[in-house]
């Protein structure tokens, strides 16, 4: 059975989309087109997003819609493990965030208004990518949402430094090992005692300048489906580390053991395995840094251009740590590579724009492939990287189809 993506209209016809959304969305949130035109969209989201799942909501962004240097809020992908809070808070300023854990002697609670008043605000453009972005290509297939290339985006986030808040809460730096989060989303089963997801990052990552407790995306309140009114943002780590609808942060004196930290979730085999292998939980290691990667966002795949004309190629490249230093393109399946122009990142963990003017030798079918290299000389592979049971970390080169005719 081929996994053909459905158009939105087919999707609606086949699945009764608005109804499922209506059942899982907060009261008061209106779905566009629910009663009138049969053309619904996710609240606050671009209608061009590809909906992979409606309960929980998971949607990715086609590459050509990610062409902006700063990703618009309505174009940022959605990867939810549970159901967004039943009702957005009447007064977001009264939203509370508790700081606790073994390495916090006395738990402290801040309201969102207090966070905004007490701490210095910072804005960074941070690349957020789902650890499973690209899962769709793995064979044997991995369980989970079959992301193609669109679980990625790089908006500008505004909030306070996690470090500043942890320091104000009096965390003990000599005991702190890991930072975990809890949020106010609901488990799919509806069981209020079940934690949807509770992941986090090592303390060293938590203390970086760019590690934010954020309330704004591109100067506006966060979209509901992306964590409104408060979330964590850690650039360069799997997006699942960046907890949404943030209600509590725990500074642990050990590796955080929250939901989806253990087992096989967000982990890859500690040593390489053959495709399809069964790997024991004990042999799976937590994903921390995301690999170097790039995406062609212009033109949209499928462009047909006249012979003798040139193609303006554009896109983004990103890496979890040091900046991307080089992006190249190939029109002959990697036999030869040409350099792209590459802009520096506006800050660490922001994606960088590449561009090139591409000429084609003769009419016919071409694929334009892009390949990024980072400062540590890590290069994107042209084929799929190492197979892993849950299909994470696919950073294979992106490509588009072009015809000269």
């Amino acid at each position: 059975m081929p996994h053909r993506p459905l158009s939105r209209r087919q999707f609606l016809t086949r699945s009764g989309l608005p109804v499922i959304f209506a059942a899982s969305l907060p009261a008061g949130v209106q779905l566009l087109g629910l009663s009138a035109a049969p053309d619904p969209t996710l609240p606050g989201k671009h209608p061009g997003l590809t909906i992979l799942n409606d309960r929980p909501v998971n949607a990715e962004t086609p590459a050509h819609l990610l062409d902006e240097a700063v990703t618009s809020a309505d174009r940022l992908f959605i990867r939810n493990n549970g159901i967004a809070p039943a009702a957005p808070p009447a007064d977001p300023a009264e939203w509370t965030l508790r700081i606790a854990g073994e390495a916090v002697p006395q738990a402290v609670t801040f309201t969102l208004a207090e966070l905004q008043a007490k701490f210095r605000h910072h804005t960074y453009q941070l690349t957020l990518e789902c650890g499973g972005n690209g899962r769709k290509e793995f064979y044997p297939p991995a369980r989970g949402n079959q992301w193609s290339t669109g679980a990625i985006g790089c908006p500008a986030w505004t909030g306070v430094r996690l470090r500043d808040v942890l320091e104000a809460a009096g965390y003990q730096s000599d005991r702190a090992v890991y930072v975990g989060y809890y949020g106010r989303d609901t488990h799919l089963s509806g069981d209020p005692d079940k934690v949807v997801i509770s992941r986090g990052v090592p303390i060293a990552k938590a203390l970086e300048d760019e590690s934010l407790i954020a309330w704004a995306m591109n100067g506006q309140p966060l979209p509901l489906l992306n964590g409104y009114p408060l979330r964590l943002v850690f650039g360069g780590y799997p997006a699942s580390c960046s907890g949404k609808w943030l209600s509590e942060i725990v500074v642990r004196d050990r590796l955080h053991d929250g939901e989806k930290m253990g087992g096989q979730s967000y982990r890859v085999p500690c040593t390489p395995v053959e495709p399809g292998a069964t790997v024991a939980d004990a042999d799976m290691c937590i994903i921390e840094q995301m690999p170097v990667k790039s995406l062609i966002t212009s033109p949209k795949t499928g462009a047909t251009i006249a012979p003798g004309t040139k193609l303006n190629l554009g896109g983004h490249a990103w890496s979890s740590g040091p900046a991307v230093t080089e992006v190249a393109y190939s029109i002959d399946f990697g036999s030869s590579w040409q350099p792209c122009r590459l802009a520096p990142p506006v800050n660490r963990f922001a994606w960088q724009q590449f561009s090139a003017t591409v000429a084609f030798p003769e009419p016919g079918y071409y694929e334009v492939w892009a390949r990024a290299t980072d400062a540590a000389d890590r290069v994107q592979p042209m084929v799929l990287p190492g197979w892993n049971p849950r299909g994470y970390l696919n950073n294979a080169c992106h490509r588009i189809a072009v015809k000269i005719a």
């Binding site: 996994h3 009764g16 499922i20 799942n53 089963s189 303006n312 015809k403």
Partner: protein, 132 residues
Amino acid sequence: MRILIVFAVLLTLAYSCSEDAPAPAIPSDPDRFVVDGIDTLTGLIAQGDYLLVRGNCLACHSANLITQQGATAAGWREMIHWMQEKQGLTDLGELEEPIVAYLATYYAPVETGRRRPLGEVEWYRLNTDQAD
């Protein structure tokens, strides 16, 4: 009218997901929702025991979790056991075998190798006069 029927059925599904819930009632004439071999209520392929899947799986999650996925019988069984261990799915008893058989038959993995072809490209004319 049609949307109301869909609403009623799916609301039943959406609210019946709990550890004790019985399988949702199946409409007496399910075939009227089948168009071109697809169950339009869910998107499932309307063959074999699809009603068992609709009744037992879609109480808790969307059919998209099935239709976007391919797996062998062993793979589907492993996912069912994972849902039982982690997500509160009940023991399916004698229904497990026909459910796994349906999934492995109609949602089998597709061999794609290390890189699949780009596939169905929607071609369009791009004006490149502006290129330098």
